[in-house]
């Protein structure tokens, strides 16, 4: 998803990215994510196709790099996450991790969930759609933050 209008664009901090990349090398990790306020930076080794891999007739630098795969059941989530157990958004809307503002979230990283348990809410056209666990497991990642707009296929959580 390219979103421009709502939130200020993330100002890239080259020094921060460089130091995170170095940390990635030193630790042998494949991915580091850090956040401050509503800004997040994720540095990952499994980068998709490089931005220049697909040529465009004009204004190539203005174009978003296309995702590595364009369709099919196995395509990565819209935010690039693709592991077995990834729960993807079934509809477009605003994702809420808690029933109400200020309430504790439905689930946290490390929680064990039962099949059918409510994990979050996606609001679409003023309807609150409960997103339930497709199977039992342990929540090992939450990829989105509260009140974040999500598109179809956005990776929401990893349940292992």
């Amino acid at each position: 998803m390219k979103l421009g209008g709502r939130r200020p664009p993330l100002a890239p901090d080259p020094d921060l990215i460089r130091s995170l990349a170095k940390l990635l090398d030193e630790t042998g990790l494949t991915e580091i994510e850090c956040s401050a306020g509503d800004q997040r930076i994720r540095v990952s080794r499994q980068a998709a196709a490089p931005a220049g891999a697909i040529s465009a007739p004009a204004a190539a630098e203005k174009l978003a790099p296309p995702p590595a795969a364009s369709n099919g059941a196995g395509h990565p989530g819209a935010n690039g996450h693709d592991q077995p157990g990834t729960l993807k958004a079934p509809l477009v809307g605003i994702a809420y991790l808690a029933a109400e503002p200020g309430q504790p979230p439905y689930v946290r990283v490390g929680d064990t969930v039962a099949e059918g348990q409510t994990l979050m809410i996606i609001e679409a056209m003023k309807v609150m759609n409960q997103i339930r666990a497709p199977r039992a497991g342990k929540v090992s990642r939450v990829y989105i933050s509260d009140s974040e707009p999500v598109e179809y296929g956005t990776a929401l959580m990893l349940i292992e």
Partner: protein, 445 residues
């Protein structure tokens, strides 16, 4: 004027609308299925939202997802494009109810013109000539036969909720009609979820002539002349031109005047097209399309008016601001629809574009989202490019069309460019001597 417009469509028309928006400094939001993540209109849009998987009913026809995308991106208007939700009055209603502007006609006008039986009645009331036909939907074979005898054979069975030629059957006598009625009903049910059909007299060699109109919703209406869309295969338009080589200026003035009067009475808003069959000096209303049309660029070429810009202006509440006498139609324009299809058997040919070179130079316009490396998805219609050619007169336009078709390179898939090359050299086409059955005879169907 709007700050941000969500374009609820795909392909070349989504790109066309994006261009009009950007020409006016308006930001765009592209919504797309997973199959279109790499499409040019998505890559060029200021923002994009994936709204569903490849099947159109789960993405481009998914009203809740489109409205959610408009909400989360803060868009203030929605352009429905062509096809998909563009003639869905309920969609237009719900867009307005949610506080967005709908870039198109008033929902009630979409509703009336989308129902073929009501549309014909409305056309008659508005003073437009219509093809003799059954008064309403047919319940059984006896009723159909009675209506057909009153109209005169041959008759055409058509779906009440139909479009695009599906569900149509030609009957020459009572026996044909008895056999074909259940087939037409079944086809209408399968294609449109409604088995209502009606009858019309079948004209044997008409031209398809349509009038392009723009109204501001307050009674001001102008026309941009006609388009001749007689070159059709299986009721699908292949090539369109304006002006029609089959009309003289007096006839053109008469039918355009009738169309303008009708839409003034209606208080029509936005771009719209009234389609007629034309035979032996008479026009017969077929239908009104309450939306932009695929072939709109040829009217833009001869009038100098950007129809999408006009739609945006009018949806934002601006008056038309000019009169018929301000519009000068000059020169000649032809559009070739280039489809990802085998040029002989018309089998779809999706796949990766291995090389791409678009024609250019004087008088050439290409509306297409193709680029080298682009993958034409197999899920949607096969229109991949529109080649639009302008000339000072029809001869210059035809010469330039041949030149442009020689230049155009689309590698990796099959396209209908070779068909257009054959057409551009066909003697009947050069003379302008064709009707809506001509192309199928030419192709040997």
């Amino acid at each position: 004027m709007f700050e941000k417009v969500l374009i609820a469509n795909r392909g070349e028309i989504a790109l066309r609308i994006h261009r009009a928006c950007r020409d006016m400094g308006i930001k765009t939001v592209a919504v797309h299925s997973t199959a279109d993540a790499n499409a040019m209109n998505v890559r060029l849009a200021d923002e994009s939202v994936c709204i569903g998987p490849p099947p159109a009913r789960a993405s481009y026809l998914n009203i809740p997802s489109i409205l959610s995308a408009a909400t989360i991106t803060g868009a203030d208007a929605i352009h429905p494009g062509i096809g998909f939700l563009s003639e869905n009055a309920d969609f237009a209603d719900v867009v307005l109810e949610h506080g967005f502007a709908f870039i198109g006609p008033k929902p009630d006008h979409i509703r009336v013109m989308g129902d073929k039986v009501r549309a014909k009645a409305a056309a008659r009331e508005l003073g437009m000539p219509t093809v003799p036909g059954s008064a309403g939907m047919l319940r059984n074979a006896d009723e159909a036969i009675e209506a057909a005898r009153a109209i005169g054979y041959p008759v055409l069975l058509k779906a009440v909720s139909g479009g695009g030629g599906r569900g149509m059957k030609l009957a020459h006598n009572d026996t044909d009609l008895r056999t074909l009625l259940p087939l037409a009903q079944a086809e209408a049910q399968a294609a449109f979820g409604d088995d209502s059909v009606y009858l019309e007299r079948f004209l044997d060699r008409p031209r398809h002539i349509e009038i392009q109109l723009i109204g501001d919703g307050r009674g001001a209406v102008v026309h941009l002349g006609e388009r001749d869309c007689s070159l059709q295969r299986h009721h699908q338009k292949i090539l369109e031109e304006t002006p029609s080589p089959g009309l003289d200026p007096a006839v053109r003035e008469r039918i355009a005047g009738i169309a303008v009067n009708a839409l003034e009475k209606l208080g029509y808003q936005s771009a719209g097209t009234i389609e007629f069959l034309y035979q032996d000096g008479e026009f017969y209303f077929i239908e009104m399309n309450t939306r932009l049309q695929v072939e709109h660029p040829i009217s833009e070429m001869v009038s100098g008016i950007d129809l999408v810009r006009e739609q945006l202006r009018i949806a934002a509440g601006a008056p038309l601001g000019y009169r018929q006498s301000d519009i000068q139609l000059r020169g000649h324009a032809i559009e070739c629809r280039i489809n990802a299809e085998n040029p002989e058997d018309f089998r779809p040919s999706p796949g990766r574009i291995s090389e791409y070179h678009a024609p250019g130079g004087p008088g050439i316009r290409v509306d297409s989202g193709l680029y080298q490396g682009y993958e034409v998805p197999p899920y949607y219609d096969s229109l991949i490019s529109k080649l639009i050619v302008y000339g000072g007169d029809r001869d210059e336009c035809l010469m330039r069309l041949r030149r442009a078709l020689e230049e155009y390179v689309i590698g990796g898939i099959e396209t209908t460019i070779p068909l257009h090359q054959r057409l551009a050299h066909a003697a009947d086409f050069q003379r302008g001597a064709y009707d809506i059955g001509w192309l199928e005879r030419f192709l040997g169907h």
